[in-house]
C-alpha cells in the first residue's frame, strides 16, 4: 500500500473576482505517476505552481509527509520542474545547465561535473555536453531540462506540459522515455497536461479538473469506463450524451424520457424517478446494423478518419450530433454517403446514467 507523500487539503487560489482553484484536496502517493488534466484554464498549472511554491494558495494546507510546505521557500522545496518551454539558461552550455542545481547546493565542482555527466549520458546527450543551448533541437532541449531536474535525485518531479512544444512523433517517443524513467527511478511524477492521450499513456492515476475543481480521480481505465459526471464523460473518451428524465425503474433497466423518445438504460445508484439525468452511450457501442433495441434516426454530417478507426458524425432529429466509432473496414462495407439517412442503435446495457 503506497503511503501518501504529498497531501493537499482544501487548497484555494482566489484572485479578485475569480477562483482559479477551489477546495482542491488530493493525496499523492510516493512513487506514483499522477497526471492533472483538463481544458485550458481549469487550474491544473496553477495547482502545480502552488506545489512548487511559485504561487501561494489563498487558503488550504499542503503537507509533505506531515510537514507543512506552505512556509517553505521555493528553493528549499526539492521539487524540480520540467517547463513547457524548457527554461534552459541561455548563456550556459548543456553541461553547465545540468550542473546548476548541484552548484546551488554547494556541491564541489569535480563531484558535480561527474554527476552531471552521468545524467547527461543517461539521457543520451553525451555528444552535446559542450554545446550551447541555442544549437539544440526541441527534443534535445527537453532532455537537457529533464537531466537538469533529475540531477539532484529529487523525490518528486513536476512536469508542466513538457511535451506540448514538441512535434507529434517526438512526443510519442518522449512519452515512452518518461514512462521508462519513471519505472527506473521509482520517484513521484506529477504531470500536467491537456492531452488525454498523454495522460492515459503514462499515468497511474489521473485527476480530471474543470474550472478550478476536481471532477474525478482514478486510474485511466476507471475514468474511461465509469465517468462520474457529465463533464468527465464528455472530456474523456468519445461519449454521446442525451439529456433526459428518469421515469421508471424496472429492475435491471430504467426508462428515460428524452426529446428523442423513450429509452432504456442501465440503472444508476442514487438516481430516482423524476431526476434529471444524462444518458451516456460510448461511441464504439453504437451499432449501424439496426440490431440494437434502442434506436434513433439521423443523417450523416461528417467523418473523421484517424487510420484504422473512423468516427462518423451523425446529426439527429433534435439537432444534436452523435459520434459513432467503427473500424474502417466495417464502415467501408456499408458504403455510406454524406447526407445519407441511417438508423443508429444500441443495447440498453450499453447506456448508463449520470446525474445532471
Amino acid at each position: 500500500m503506497s503511503t501518501s507523500l504529498l497531501s493537499l487539503n482544501d487548497i484555494c487560489m482566489e484572485y479578485p473576482g475569480f477562483k482559479a482553484v477551489s477546495n482542491l484536496s488530493i493525496d499523492i502517493k510516493a512513487g506514483e505517476f499522477i497526471s492533472l488534466m483538463g481544458p485550458s484554464g481549469c487550474g491544473k498549472s496553477t495547482t502545480l505552481r502552488m506545489i512548487a511554491g511559485l504561487d501561494s494558495p489563498t487558503s488550504g494546507s499542503m503537507l509533505l509527509e506531515g510537514t507543512s510546505q506552505l512556509d517553505v521557500p521555493i528553493e528549499d522545496r526539492g521539487m524540480p520542474m520540467v517547463w513547457q518551454n524548457f527554461a534552459l539558461f541561455p548563456f550556459l552550455n548543456v553541461q553547465k545547465n545540468v550542473e546548476f542545481p548541484l552548484r546551488m547546493k554547494g556541491v564541489a565542482s569535480d563531484i558535480r561535473a561527474k554527476k552531471a555527466s552521468e545524467w547527461i549520458e543517461r539521457l543520451g546527450l553525451s555528444e552535446f555536453a559542450e554545446r550551447s543551448i541555442a544549437q539544440l533541437s526541441g527534443g534535445q532541449r527537453q532532455r537537457v531540462a529533464l537531466a537538469r531536474a533529475l540531477v539532484t535525485e529529487p523525490r518528486v518531479l513536476l512536469l508542466d506540459e513538457p511535451l506540448s512544444a514538441l512535434d507529434a512523433h517526438l512526443r510519442i517517443k518522449m512519452q515512452t522515455e518518461l514512462t521508462r524513467l519513471h519505472k527506473e527511478l521509482g520517484i513521484t511524477f506529477i504531470y500536467v497536461t491537456h492531452s488525454q492521450s498523454e495522460a492515459f499513456a503514462m499515468a497511474d492515476r489521473v485527476v480530471i479538473m474543470n474550472k478550478g475543481e476536481i471532477q474525478q480521480v482514478g486510474t485511466p481505465k476507471e475514468v474511461y469506463r465509469a465517468p462520474e459526471n457529465a463533464f468527465v464523460a464528455e472530456f474523456i473518451g468519445m461519449n454521446n450524451l442525451l439529456p433526459g428524465t428518469l421515469v421508471e425503474s424496472n429492475g435491471d433497466t430504467v426508462d428515460v424520457v428524452t426529446d428523442l423518445g423513450l429509452f432504456k438504460a442501465k440503472p444508476a445508484m442514487g438516481l430516482k424517478n423524476g431526476d434529471s439525468a444524462h444518458m451516456v452511450i460510448a461511441a464504439d457501442c453504437i451499432r449501424l446494423d439496426n440490431q440494437g433495441k434502442q434506436k434513433v434516426r439521423g443523417r450523416i454530417s461528417g467523418e473523421e478518419f484517424v487510420g484504422s478507426v473512423i468516427t462518423l458524425l451523425v446529426e439527429l432529429e433534435n439537432g444534436q450530433e452523435f459520434k459513432v466509432q467503427k473500424q474502417q473496414h466495417e464502415v467501408e462495407a456499408l458504403n455510406l454517403k454524406y447526407g445519407a439517412d441511417l438508423t443508429l442503435s444500441w443495447d440498453a446495457q450499453s447506456a448508463f446514467l449520470l446525474a445532471a
Binding site: G53, L54, W83, A87, F89, P90, F91, P101, M104, T152
Partner: protein, 262 residues
C-alpha cells in the same frame, strides 16, 4: 518622380543634414592639427604642437583627471543604481510603481540650468558645495536614468520563466541574481557603464554650477574660451570627442541584437 531620382534626393538630403551636424566637429578636428593658430584656408601644415601644449598645461591635466574621477564614479554608481531600478521594475509589482519609474526616468528631462541652480542651493546647505563628490552625485542621478533604460531593455528579453526556474532548482533570490540575472545582463551592464561615463565626461552645466574650484574638463574649456581663443581648445575637443565617441559606439555595439536565438 522616378524611384532613382527619389532615392538620390533622399540620400542627398540625409548627407546634407548629417554634414551640417558634423561639420563643426570635423572643423575642430582638422584645425587641431593645423600649424597656424588662426583657422583659415589654405592650411598652414600638419602639426601636433597644440596637443603638446595642452599636455603640458597643469590646469588642463588636472581638470581632465577630475573628469575621469567623476566619470568613473558616475559610471560605477549609475550602473549599480540603474541595475537595481531595472531589476525592481522587472521583478516586482507594487503600489506606486508608476511613480517610482517616473522618478527614475525624470532627471535627464530637467533642464541642466534648473538642476544646477537647485543643486547649488541644496549642496551649499549641506556643505557639499564645491566638491567633486557633489558633481559625481548629480551625474549619477542623471546617468542612472540611461543605465536603467539600457538594462531594463535587456531584462525584457529574458524569458519570464528563467528566473523562477532557477529558484525551483535551488537558487535563493540572491543566487538567482548573481548567477542568472547578472551574467545575462553582462553586456547591458558594460554598455550602461560606458554610456554613463560618456554622459558624465561631457556634462558641463552642473559641473560648472556645483564644482567650484574643482574644474572638470568641460569647465576648463569654458574658462579657456573666455580667455584667449586658441587651437589648444581644438586639441582638447578632438580628444574628448574621440573618447566619448568610442564609448558610445562601444555601448551600441554591446547592445546589438545577435541573430542567434538566445
Amino acid at each position: 518622380m522616378s524611384r532613382g531620382i527619389r532615392s538620390l534626393l533622399e540620400s542627398s538630403y540625409l548627407l546634407l543634414v548629417f554634414g551640417f551636424i558634423a561639420t563643426p566637429i570635423v572643423m575642430i578636428v582638422v584645425f587641431s592639427f593645423n600649424e597656424d593658430r588662426f583657422p583659415g584656408f589654405p592650411w598652414a601644415g600638419f602639426s601636433l604642437r597644440w596637443y603638446e601644449a595642452i599636455l603640458n598645461e597643469p590646469m588642463v591635466i588636472d581638470s581632465a583627471i577630475n573628469s575621469v574621477i567623476v566619470g568613473l564614479s558616475t559610471a560605477i554608481g549609475a550602473t549599480i543604481i540603474g541595475f537595481l531600478a531595472a531589476y525592481i521594475d522587472y521583478r516586482y509589482k507594487f503600489t506606486g510603481k508608476t511613480a517610482f519609474n517616473l522618478m527614475v526616468a525624470i532627471p535627464p528631462a530637467i533642464p541642466a540650468t534648473v538642476m544646477g541652480i537647485a543643486l547649488l542651493a541644496f549642496l551649499a546647505r549641506i556643505g557639499l558645495f564645491g566638491e567633486l563628490k557633489a558633481v559625481a552625485f548629480a551625474h549619477i542621478a542623471i546617468a542612472s536614468s540611461f543605465a536603467m533604460a539600457i538594462i531594463r531593455l535587456r531584462l525584457s528579453e529574458l524569458e519570464a520563466s528563467i528566473e523562477p526556474a532557477a529558484w525551483n532548482l535551488g537558487a535563493s533570490r540572491l543566487q538567482g541574481l548573481c548567477f542568472i540575472i547578472l551574467p545575462y545582463c553582462r553586456n547591458a551592464l558594460l554598455a550602461a557603464f560606458f554610456l554613463s561615463f560618456a554622459v558624465s565626461f561631457d556634462e558641463f552645466m552642473i559641473a560648472w554650477f556645483v564644482g567650484g574650484m574643482n574644474e572638470t574638463l568641460p569647465v576648463r574649456i569654458l574658462n579657456l574660451l573666455q580667455g584667449q581663443v586658441s587651437p589648444r581648445i581644438n586639441a582638447i575637443g578632438t580628444l574628448v570627442f574621440a573618447l566619448t565617441f568610442s564609448l558610445v559606439v562601444s555601448a551600441l555595439w554591446l547592445m546589438r541584437r545577435k541573430r542567434v536565438a538566445h
